[in-house]
């Protein structure tokens, strides 16, 4: 007997066929749909079975060793005892060593059921071993095949602009589904188009995901981007002014659907001059709302940190001291912030209050430049309020 799972539409397919021993061929018969069951049952009937998910493996007691009572009532069975009769594990090249998945065992009266603590993984081959007091009687391989699913896509990479300061720090990469995580940095590379070679170790190897798993913050290594810091001295900065680069995300990276990106995603940019200047709101241009256009527009002197923009602005009506509820978008090469009020503006004076930690692309904030000795240095005081009037 053998088990396998075949794909059809959006269902998980489990295909069960029977042959003697482990060396059976992989010809599958037409499947029989089992519907919404989560359990594969080894029935020995040789039929191909289809299920929508797989959470446990059920074996008739008749296929197990004679030492296992087959008239017992429903009950849970201790793990060590259960492993004397039934184990499930991955197919391995280590034929002499088999490490079963950890799970729980249950006797139903007619079947012996194994449920792993962690769910079975689609596209992974498993072996079901049936035993009598630890003595192997038969083993059956099966393949739990993934349902067809959408491939992940990268929706955007911020900054959107195609010129970045030579001391640029981080990218924000948005996906349309959570990606498989752990060891992700092999999927990223930085190609120096001007030199025609890859940049060695450009990234900080710390995974920083948003809570919903849809946004990754990818850092250039700060120790290489900061002037005078040891890695910057020993390895050099990541970017060279005037060079063109491609940030590449490898096509093989899989999403949680199990599908891969399918194509290499490239963000191309040129490295401009390094930026060591703090953003200063007094340099920004305010376009106040009008009767025919309720939007407040703030034209920046430079693009700012994409993620921090969302939480860094509060607009207050000065007379009432009320905070104005707005939504914020970024337009025109990330140079213009557009605030759309949720209620009509009242006439009067307003203040835009900016979080002093708001940074530009090089990590310079209103509070301090990215590169500064914090000890004994008088930092410039940059205001964090901008006022405007609505007539």
């Amino acid at each position: 007997m053998r088990l396998s799972i075949c794909r059809n539409g959006f269902l998980y397919f489990l295909c069960v066929s029977v042959c003697a021993g482990v060396a059976c061929d992989r010809t599958y018969q037409d499947p029989i749909r089992l519907g919404e069951t989560d359990t594969v049952t080894l029935s020995g009937d040789g039929d191909l079975k289809i299920i929508t998910s797989l959470q446990s493996v059920s074996v008739p007691l008749s296929l197990l060793g004679p030492s296992l009572p087959d008239t017992i009532d429903d009950r849970e069975v201790g793990r060590e005892q259960g492993e004397q009769f039934l184990t499930v594990g991955i197919e391995t090249t280590h034929e002499t060593e088999f490490y079963p998945m950890t799970g729980s065992y249950h006797l139903t009266g007619t079947h012996f059921v194994f449920k792993p603590i962690l769910p079975f993984v689609p596209e992974q081959s498993y072996i079901v071993r049936m035993m009598d007091c630890g003595k192997l009687l038969r083993e059956e391989p099966f393949l739990f095949r993934r349902a067809e699913a959408d491939a992940p896509e990268i929706e955007s990479i911020f900054p959107l602009v195609d010129e970045l300061p030579a001391n640029h720090l981080k990218f924000y990469i948005y996906f349309n589904q959570p990606m498989q995580t752990g060891d992700i940095f092999d999927y990223f590379s930085l190609w120096d188009m001007t030199r025609g070679k890859l940049v060695a170790r450009p990234f900080r190897h710390t995974e920083l995901w948003s809570k919903d798993g849809l946004r990754l913050t990818l850092w250039f290594h700060p120790g290489r981007q900061k002037t005078g810091v040891n890695l910057n001295v020993e390895l050099g900065p990541v970017l060279t002014q005037g060079h063109r680069y491609q940030l590449r995300v490898d096509a093989s990276w899989r999403g949680m659907s199990g599908e891969s990106l399918g194509k290499t995603v490239i963000k191309e940019f040129v490295a401009g001059p390094a930026d060591h200047t703090q953003p200063d709101p007094s340099d920004w241009k305010i376009t106040v709302p009008r009767k025919d256009d309720s939007k407040l527009r703030v034209t920046l002197a430079e693009p700012l940190d994409h993620a921090m923009i969302e939480t860094s602005f509060v607009i207050e009506h000065l007379a009432s001291e009320e905070q104005i509820s707005t939504s914020i978008t970024v337009e025109l090469n990330e140079r213009v912030l557009v605030f759309t009020p949720h209620q009509p503006w009242r006439s009067g004076h307003y203040s835009i209050v900016i979080n002093p930690l708001l940074e530009d692309l090089s990590g310079n904030s209103l509070e301090r430049p990215f590169e500064v000795d914090l000890q004994g240095v008088a930092l410039p005081v940059i205001g964090n309020r901008v006022e405007f009037t609505v007539e």
Partner: protein
């Protein structure tokens, strides 16, 4: 009647527990049951434990396992009930990465071992692991006989303590979690500005309660600068003259101590750098041990540019530092710097041969540590002597 090789013993889950339903799969128990952790845990939960993204581990007293849930973000304290007797690992476990992946139902390249801790009461080794295919989290145990299994999270008592945040801050990473005498400390980073934070969670750890958050500022000896942006990579609690500190290690690799007493929530805590281990290294684990009346700090690191400037046979290496350096008068710009041209120097700072290839280390006692060792890309698990 069929013959039977053994009695099939029914497993009665929580049958002896006085519990009531909180949600469909969660029970709340009186804290006095089983292992008495009344002073340590409050509002203990049973069942339904899951991790959004499993992270660093450490053990507290009485078999209490602390686990960082990075994407929670939270610290989870698990009553493992694993209080002994001590049964140390009897022999090296080769290819432990293959075996851990197998019990998780995956191939080794599909599983990341995130961190390791050893329960000093039982000798059992705990690994936090992540399965890439479905981002599933697991706690995997290795007992003294080398037997490996996944801990059933539906079968443990725990509290989950969310990390404190202030308006506009979001915890992006948790780089360590440790028990002290009067609290649990976590370190990490918040927001996009990559600031380093310390989180203080009072005892007893209370489910769904929280604690305090401090910002940190550290003098980086190798940089010759004060930094707020570098996160603490690993740390240990430390007492000096009756005062509480944590000793943290940063990338590139200053070791600094931060005072914890009388700190207001939200305060900026200034660290004092006491030792510099050399540039291009990312510290991984830290612990202290005593030998011949002297106390040593052990830390293992991952060398950033090993291929360009190798320090030894592996990018993974470690060092021990005489703890008297922590009370040194010469600090910050005058802090002791490891002599990067030698295995030893200045006095009391020594590269440990036994830590070459060590991906993770954890102290079992003052004579032995557990080492998760790189073996040509695979991993072995072994006990190793402390010098």
């Amino acid at each position: 009647m069929k013959r039977s090789c053994m009695a099939l013993v029914p497993v009665i889950v929580f049958a002896a527990m006085a519990s009531f339903s909180l949600r469909s799969n969660i029970r709340v128990e009186a804290a006095s049951e089983k292992n008495d952790l009344t002073q340590l845990l409050k509002n203990v939960q049973s069942g339904g434990l899951s991790f959004n993204k499993i992270g660093r581990l450490s053990f507290g007293p009485k078999g209490l396992l602390l686990v960082a849930d990075v994407a929670g973000p939270a610290v989870v304290a698990i009553d493992t009930g694993d209080t002994g007797p001590l049964q140390k690992l009897t022999k090296r476990v080769d290819e432990v990465d293959v075996k851990v992946a197998a019990v998780m139902g995956a191939k080794p390249e599909e599983v990341v071992i995130v961190d390791m801790a050893v329960n000093t009461l039982s000798g059992t080794i705990y690994l936090s692991a992540h399965r890439k295919a479905d981002n599933a989290a697991a706690l995997v145990t290795v007992d003294g006989n080398g037997k490996i299994k996944v801990l059933d999270l539906d079968d443990v008592r725990y509290v989950r303590v969310p990390l404190p945040v202030s308006a506009g801050t979001q915890v992006r990473n948790i780089t360590g979690v440790q028990f002290t005498e009067d609290r649990v400390i976590a370190a990490g980073q918040c927001n996009e500005e990559f600031a380093s934070k310390i989180f203080s969670l009072p005892l007893p750890l209370t489910h769904d309660a929280s604690g305090s958050m401090y910002s940190t500022e550290t003098y980086h000896v190798a940089h010759g600068r004060w930094e707020t942006r570098a996160p603490i990579q690993s740390f240990i609690p430390y007492q000096e003259n009756g005062k509480s500190y944590i000793v943290g290690s940063f990338s590139c690799t200053p070791i600094a101590k931060f005072p914890l007493d009388d700190i207001e929530t939200g305060a900026q805590v200034k660290g004092t750098s006491v030792v510099e281990l050399g540039s291009g290294n990312r510290p991984v684990d830290m612990f202290t041990y005593k030998r011949d009346g002297k106390e040593w700090l052990v830390t293992n690191t991952d060398r950033f540019h090993h291929e360009r400037r190798p320090l030894g046979p592996s990018q993974y290496w470690g060092v021990r530092v005489d703890m008297s350096y922590l009370a040194a008068e010469k600090t910050n710009e005058d802090a002791a710097r490891r002599d990067i041209s030698k295995k030893e120097g200045p006095t009391g700072i020594q590269v440990m041969d036994v830590l070459f290839f060590a991906r993770h280390v954890a102290k079992l006692n003052d004579a032995e540590m557990v080492v998760l060792r790189d073996n040509d890309g695979g991993l072995n698990l072994e006990l190793a002597p402390l010098p």
